[in-house]
């Protein structure tokens, strides 16, 4: 778990004037809690520790994608698997058929809780992990093991073709990657991997699962959250458009009318 780095600074300062501060009981309580947490972490002596260099991806007006660094260490032997799951969404898959010469959407199937983003990285080839099929499915290792639940009351005869279409389409826009990335070792116990976040990354809460694999089974696991949010100017526009749609629409019309008006005025003066 990442401890907020700002905690130690103010804590030291508070301890210095501990006698005079009216917030003394609160400060003491916080200090106690922090110590207890540290102690608990140390005692647990996790065999696997992993963290991200940044837990927040802010999509601002100038966002063109970014790269996240996931790093950590293991105690003992084993291989590391990192699986990144995007927020869950409902997806309708539609299939085109030729009708009178042109291609028209015909059959459709709705899937529930489809991860909007999926990425995986391993420190060894997937086959070399010797994980049983059940474990691969449970931890959703590899795009073919992503859990795609079909919404109720649907014809399931062609489920496979539609499910494959999800993976194929998401891969094409860069939201899924079929080829696993690489987890690199640094001096035997330390590992690191980079997660490429594309410019069109879906927003929401992500979970990054780091697994330690030993002798064909998952011996330890850690989950790290990642938040992808729209921030700044573009976020304000998006919120305005969804929270006050009619005000937003009126603004858009007036703005356009104003620009047209201004352009007319400027070019008449030139």
């Amino acid at each position: 778990m990442r401890r907020p780095p700002s905690l130690t600074g103010p804590l030291k300062g508070s301890l210095a004037n501990i006698a005079t501060s009216p917030l003394t009981p609160l400060v003491l309580l916080l200090a106690g809690l922090a110590m207890a947490m540290g102690l608990r972490l140390a005692m647990a002596a996790e065999r696997l520790v992993a963290d991200l260099d940044n837990h927040l991806v802010a999509i601002t007006a100038g966002f063109t994608g970014t790269e996240l660094l996931l790093f950590g260490s293991i105690d003992g032997d084993g291989e590391v698997v990192v699986v990144v799951h995007g927020p869950k969404e409902e997806v309708v898959v539609r299939r085109k058929d030729r009708v009178a010469g042109i291609w028209v959407n015909q059959d459709e199937m709705t899937f529930r809780s489809v991860p909007a983003f999926y990425h995986m990285a391993t420190s060894a080839p997937v086959a070399a992990l010797e994980l049983p099929e059940t474990a691969m499915k449970r931890h959703q290792i590899g795009v073919q093991h992503i859990r795609l639940r079909v919404a109720p009351d649907q014809d399931l005869t062609e489920r496979e073709a539609f499910a494959e279409a999800i993976v194929r389409n998401k891969t094409r826009v860069g939201h899924y990657s079929e080829q696993p990335g690489r987890v690199e070792w640094r001096g035997g116990r330390l590992f690191r991997t980079t997660v490429l976040v594309p410019a069109n990354v879906p927003v929401g809460t992500y979970t990054i699962e780091t697994l330690l694999v030993e002798n064909g089974e998952v011996s330890s696991a850690q989950t790290t959250p990642l938040f992808v949010n729209k921030e700044g100017f573009s976020a304000q526009i998006f919120r305005a458009a969804h929270q006050f749609p009619s005000v937003f629409g009126a603004t858009a019309v007036l703005l356009a009318a104003f620009v047209g008006f201004a352009a007319n005025w400027v070019f008449r003066k030139l």
Binding site: W103, R172, A257, G260
Partner: protein, 307 residues
């Protein structure tokens, strides 16, 4: 330099968008058309989701028609009474169109309907313009041939009730005619993200029999209010107006239009129309080709309830 479009949810090169706005502004300056019929397909080609392209296209036309209306207003080329009748129909048409749009979105057929409408209308209008300009070029080579037809032709359209006098257009026709034309163009505006000038101008000249000098100004007045209405409703119902994208297109557009007007003044009328017809047919051909060609992937993803 890239910028993230908040509603289209994609990152685009700012100069690409400015350039597109400029190029289409220039064309609209040269040919005296709104350019919406080129803007919306172009936005779809570069990857903007078609609902966003349509709604943002309508928003962009608001700006270009404001400056057009002002220029024509000063010259007294706007028939306000006729414009009001067109507008009455236009509001009904564009409001209905936005609801139809939302309904088609839930069915997953909006992309198809947008593209088919483009193929149909661009095909008809492009072919007609081509024929007309070829004939005009041929006629100008043989000056003796051809002659001027009657100013008004009387047919069953003049027998419709609710007759009204339009002084500026020197017409005495049924008010139902401009209302129906306006409603139809309003519907197109909402579904295709166009001003509809390319449908309305021929309809006003040939169907209503309006004199050409008031046609452009009056149609621009109708386009201004109808696209304004369509933008407002698209933003309210579908949240698909990307104000940032519209603004970038506008800035390129107003600058391009000024240069276009100067270029247009140097070209001959019938050549101009021939060129415009070629362009319209090219866009139509490309869209038709995409519909007929077997797609790379027969399957596509969408969000439930649209998108």
């Amino acid at each position: 330099m890239h910028i993230y479009l908040p509603i289209a949810e994609m990152s685009v090169n700012i100069f690409l968008i400015l350039g597109m706005g400029g190029a289409i502004g220039m064309l609209s300056g040269i040919f005296g058309v709104g350019g919406g019929f080129l803007m919306t397909p172009l936005l779809i080609f570069i990857g903007v989701p078609s609902p966003v392209a349509v709604a943002t296209g309508a928003n962009q036309i608001v700006a270009s028609s404001v400056s057009g209306v002002m220029a024509h207003w000063r010259r007294g080329n706007v028939d306000v009474k006729m414009g009001m009748m067109l507008l009455a129909g236009g509001f009904v048409g564009s409001t209905g169109g936005v609801f139809v749009f939302k309904w088609l979105q839930t069915l997953g057929q909006i992309d198809l309907v947008i593209k088919l409408s483009y193929v149909l209308f661009l095909g008809i209008i492009g072919a007609l313009m081509m024929l007309e300009s070829v004939r005009a070029v041929l006629r100008s080579r043989r000056p003796s041939a051809g002659g001027r037809g009657k100013l008004h032709e009387h047919n069953w359209l003049h027998g419709l009730p609710f007759k009204m006098r339009f002084r500026k257009s020197k017409l005495y026709i049924s008010a139902l005619l401009p209302i129906v034309v306006g409603a139809f163009v309003g519907l197109l505006s909402a579904i295709m993200g166009v001003g509809g000038g390319f449908v309305m101008v021929p309809a006003m000249i040939y169907l209503l029999g309006m004199p050409t000098n008031v046609v452009i100004g009056t149609s621009l007045m109708q386009i201004l209010f109808v696209t304004g209405n369509a933008t407002f409703l698209q933003a309210t119902l579908n949240q698909t107006v990307d104000i940032l994208l519209a603004l970038l297109l506008l800035i390129g557009g107003v600058i391009g239009a000024q240069f276009g007007t100067k270029v247009g003044a140097k070209l001959k009328g019938e050549h101009l129309r021939g060129l415009l017809a070629l362009m319209v047919l090219a866009v139509c051909g490309k869209l038709l080709f995409d519909l007929v060609l077997t797609p790379d992937d027969l399957y596509s993803l969408g969000a439930p309830g649209g998108g």
